[in-house]
Amino acid sequence: MAKNNNNLLAVLAIFVVVLSLISFGVTLYKFNQFKEQITGYASGYVNLTVTTATSINMSDDRVNWSGGTVNANEPNATLISYGNGAAVVTRGNWSTDGVDAMIVQNIGNVNCSLTIQSSKNASRLLGSVSGTNESFQWNVTNKDANSCINVSVGQLGSFVDVNITSGGTNFCSAFAFHDNRDEIYIDIALTVPPDTNSTFLGSEQTATLTILCT
């Protein structure tokens, strides 16, 4: 009886070994077949590059103060744009008519990093002989709430000196593209000195802002 049991066990053991071999072989074969189907090649990786185009639009791309003068006996004049139709001039006679903030809209289909650089700083734009009582600042704010997210601390919502160094200032690491939260204002504040160099007087002085969306 014990002999019969041993023989039966032996047959079963051999059957299990053969079954394991077949199972291993089938696994190996099917795996290689499956890998070829999903990768297109028997080894290596699928490397897929999706190209997305960033796109910004400026519905208002100019802050133009036209002509004016610092009031007599004043240390300076300040010219500040505040969003739409709320510009303010103090101690000077520049007109605020038509002076609005610049508006940048992300019209692409992907968030982008927003960087701004100016071609001129205060001294190059306003030309104070004494080098005092002049400033040229910008202030980036959300026109639509949460348009500019992941902001560097202190960069959004306050007037700071413009940046003329290469690369400019990064205001938004993620400038959103979603409807109703894809627009920002760029406001400008100028402090005009009373002692502007004569070569600057009477002619239009212009600074160009480069807005880069990457």
Binding site: N6, A10, T27
Partner: protein, 66 residues
């Protein structure tokens, strides 16, 4: 007539083969996490804006010619 030892050896071989098969399957399928690799390439956009003003000379307040 098959000895007990031979049966044990056969069963151990079967267990080893099954173990190797399972390890191979697991190690092979773990590489699926790395494929496909999708990269995003953005094309940047640049726009220009201008700030301009004219600073007129202050009028002469000394009273002018006599």
């Amino acid at each position: 007539m098959v000895s007990d030892k031979a049966i044990v050896v056969l069963i151990i071989i079967a267990i080893l083969l099954s173990t190797v098969s399972i390890i191979f399957t697991l190690s092979s399928t773990s590489s699926f996490d790395r494929i496909p690799q999708i990269n995003e390439e953005k094309i940047p956009d640049v726009d220009k804006a201008q700030v301009s003003l004219i600073i007129n000379p202050q009028p002469n307040t000394s009273g002018g010619a006599p």
